[in-house]
Amino acid sequence: MSAVLELGIEGIGVYAPSMPSWDAACEVLADGRALGTEAFVRPAPALLAVNERRRAPDSVLLALAVAEQACAMARRAPRDLANVFASSYGDLPINDYLCAVLANAPTELSPTKFHNSVHNAPAGYWTIASGCMASSTAVSAGPSSFAAGLLEAAMLAVSEGAPVLYAAFDVPASGPLAEVIACDAPFAVAFVLAPLSLSPLPPLRLSVCDHAAPGLASLPSSLHALRERNPAAASLPLLIALARGESCGLDFALHDDPNLPPSALHVGVVF
C-alpha cells in the first residue's frame, strides 16, 4: 500500500540570516542570490507583549515569528489551528545553562529556565499567546526532524480535514555542547497546510519511499552552507521550489542510520 497525502500550502513563514520573512526569502531563493552577512536580530512576534518578548528565549521567538507569518499569509486565526513544532535539538542554550548550573550549584536552578527547557516550550507559548486550545505537538527526529514533522503535520491535516500549522526551527548551540552538536546558525520555517478540500492552492504530494534521499549538491553554495549549519534548513530545497514556482520532486531522508534500510519522505510540488 503506497499512501499519498495531498495538501495545499496556504501560508509560509521564514526567519533566517538575510531572510527575515517569506517575501525576503523569495528574493534570495528565487534567483539564487548569495546570503548577506547581517548579524542575527531577534525576531519580534506580535503575539507576545514587549516584556514577554524580552524574556523569551531565541527558540520561542523564532518559532513564534514564523508561525505568525504563516498564519497571516494563510489568513487563518492562530487560535483555530492544530499545530506541530519540530526541532532537532530544542533550546540548546537552555540545555547548556541547565547542565552548567547542575554541575556546580544545582539548587540554584531557575524555575523559569526549567519550564522553558521542555521541547514543547515554543508550542506552549504559541498556544498560550494565541489562545489556541487545539492539539499541539512537539517532535524531534534527529537530522530528519523537518521531514518527520512535515509528515506528522500533513497526517494531522488530512486525518482531521482541517488546516494545520507546522513550524520547524533550531537555534545555535552554546557552551561545551556546541562542540558536539552541529548547529551554529538560527533557522526557522513554517507552513499552514490544508487538505485539498479546503485549499485551491497548488498541492504538495507526500509519500514515503524506501530509497535514500540524494545529496543536496544542487543548492547554491551559500545556501548549502546554511543547510549544513541548521537541521531546519533541510527545508531549503522545498522553499526554493516554492519561491520559483517550479514543479519538482524532492526527497528528504527520514533517518541517517547506515545500518538500516533507507527511507525518505518524497515531496512532490505541483504548480
Partner: protein, 405 residues
C-alpha cells in the same frame, strides 16, 4: 468534534518502573499495594524526597552494536524492551510486514539529558567534553528514537514526541494517524524517561516536589514524587474479517488539546483536559457512563489534582472507578502516558481496578469516582489522562474487545 475512528488492536504491551519489571511484577505490586518509592539518593547533593527508581540500571549494559548509545535512559529502554517477550514480538512484526512498513513513535521528556549533565561534570580543564562524551547521537531529544530504531531494525517513519508529561500518551494518536493514512502496517509506540538532576532540581525549583511519598488527591498532599519508566506497545489494524479474540486489547480513541493558559500550571477550570476527554470519547464513540475505569494524571500537585478531580466529579457517574497510580511509581514524566496506559490495560485484562496508594483522606473536591482502595470488577472500557507542561493534554480510550462477563 472529531469523528469516530476504527479501533486498533494493541497486540503487545509491556512496562517497567519502580513497581517492577514487566506486566506481572507491575500487576502484583498494584494488587498487593506494594509501592516502589524509596528515599532519594540520586545526584551529588540528593534532595530530601522519595523517588521511583528502577533498580540495577547502574550495572546494566547495552548490546555491543549499540554501545555508543550508552545512557541511563537507553539502559532503561533496553531493559524495558526485554520484558514480556516484547523484543521478540516486535521483531516478528518487523519480519511479517517488512522494516519499512513499521512506524516507530516514542515519547520522552528529557531523553538522555542525564548523560549530558554527566558530560558537564566531566569537562576537562579547558571546559571541553571528554572524548567519551563526544556522542551527538546521545545528547539530543531523538536519541531514544534512534536507539530503539537501531535495536529493532525498523525503517518506517520514526519520530520522538516530546510534549513533556503527555509525550507517550500522544504516541498512540500519532501512530493511529500513520496507520489510518496507510504509511505503516504496524506501529511500535512507547516512552522512556529516567531520573536526572534536571527534573529533580527543576521540579524542586518550582516547589512541586513532596518531601514524602506522593499522596495523589489527598486533602493534605504536598506535591509529586518523581520516577522513571519504560513502556512499549504494538498497534495493528483489526483483521478485515472483523473477527478478533475476545481478550484482544483495543485503542478506541484519543483526544489531544492545549490549555492556552500557563507553562507550568493547569487551566483552573480544566477546560483543556475536558476538551481532550471529549475528543477521546468522540473518536471512540463513547458516552461517559460507558467508562469503567479512569487512570488519572493525579500527580499529587495541589493544582493538578484539584482541577482533575473537579473534572471527573462533574462529568462522570458515581459508578466509574478512577484512581492515580503515581503512589506506586512516582511521576514518570514522558513515560507516564505509556506506563499508565499499560496499567489501564492490565486493569481491563484482569478485571481489577487499582486504587490510589499513600492517600489517607481524599480532598473534598473529589467525587465518589476517585477510589483509595483496589477493587475487583468487570471492566470493559478504560481512559487514561496525561497532562504536560505547556498546557499539553492527552486522553486515551482503551478497551477489552469483550467484557469478562
Amino acid at each position: 468534534m472529531p469523528t469516530r475512528i476504527a479501533p486498533l488492536a494493541i497486540t503487545a504491551f509491556t512496562a517497567t518502573s519502580a513497581a517492577g519489571r514487566g506486566r506481572e511484577a507491575l500487576a502484583r505490586a498494584l494488587r498487593t499495594r506494594t509501592g516502589g518509592l524509596i528515599d532519594n539518593a540520586f545526584s551529588s547533593v540528593p534532595l530530601t524526597c522519595k523517588i521511583g527508581r528502577v533498580g540495577g540500571l547502574e550495572d546494566a549494559t547495552l548490546p555491543a552494536a549499540t554501545a555508543a548509545f550508552d545512557s541511563r535512559n537507553h539502559r532503561l529502554a533496553w531493559i524495558g524492551l526485554n520484558q514480556d517477550g516484547f523484543l521478540d514480538g516486535a521483531r516478528a512484526v518487523v519480519e511479517r510486514y517488512g522494516a519499512s512498513r513499521i512506524a516507530l513513535v516514542l515519547g520522552t521528556s528529557t531523553s538522555s539529558i542525564g548523560e549530558t549533565e554527566r558530560a558537564y561534570r566531566q569537562l576537562d580543564a579547558q571546559g571541553h567534553f571528554p572524548s567519551s562524551q563526544c556522542r551527538p547521537q546521545v545528547h539530543q531529544p531523538h536519541a531514544l528514537g534512534m536507539f530503539v530504531q537501531r535495536v529493532l531494525g525498523v525503517a518506517g517513519p520514526c519520530l520522538t514526541l516530546a510534549t513533556a508529561c503527555s509525550s507517550s500518551a500522544k504516541v498512540f494518536a500519532s501512530a493511529e494517524r500513520l496507520l489510518r493514512a496507510g504509511f505503516a502496517d504496524a506501529a511500535i509506540v512507547g516512552g522512556v524517561d529516567t531520573l536526572c538532576d534536571s527534573v529533580l532540581f527543576g521540579f524542586n525549583s518550582l516547589e512541586l516536589v513532596s518531601n514524602e511519598a506522593c499522596r495523589p488527591f489527598d486533602a493534605n498532599r504536598r506535591g509529586l514524587s518523581l520516577g522513571e519508566a519504560a513502556g512499549f506497545a504494538i498497534l495493528e489494524r483489526l483483521p478485515q474479517s472483523g473477527k478478533i479474540h475476545k481478550s484482544t486489547m483495543l485503542l478506541l480513541g484519543y483526544g489531544e488539546s492545549s490549555d492556552a493558559h500557563h507553562m507550568s500550571a493547569p487551566h483552573p477550570l480544566g477546560l483543556g483536559a475536558e476538551r481532550a476527554l471529549d475528543d477521546a470519547l468522540a473518536r471512540a464513540g463513547l458516552r461517559t457512563e460507558q467508562v469503567d475505569y479512569i487512570n488519572l494524571h493525579g500527580t499529587a500537585s495541589r493544582q493538578n489534582d484539584t482541577v482533575e478531580a473537579a473534572l471527573i466529579a462533574r462529568r462522570f457517574p458515581a459508578t466509574v472507578r478512577a484512581s492515580s497510580t503515581k503512589g506506586w511509581t512516582g511521576h514518570t514524566l514522558g513515560a507516564a502516558g505509556i506506563l499508565e496506559a499499560a496499567i489501564a490495560l492490565i486493569a481491563l485484562e484482569q478485571g481489577f481496578a487499582p486504587g490510589t496508594l499513600n492517600t489517607r483522606e481524599l480532598d473534598p473536591v473529589c467525587g465518589p469516582q476517585i477510589r483509595i482502595d483496589n477493587s475487583e470488577a468487570n471492566l470493559r472500557i478504560a481512559l487514561s489522562n496525561s497532562f504536560g507542561f505547556g498546557g499539553n493534554n492527552c486522553c486515551l480510550a482503551l478497551a477489552c474487545a469483550e467484557s469478562r462477563a
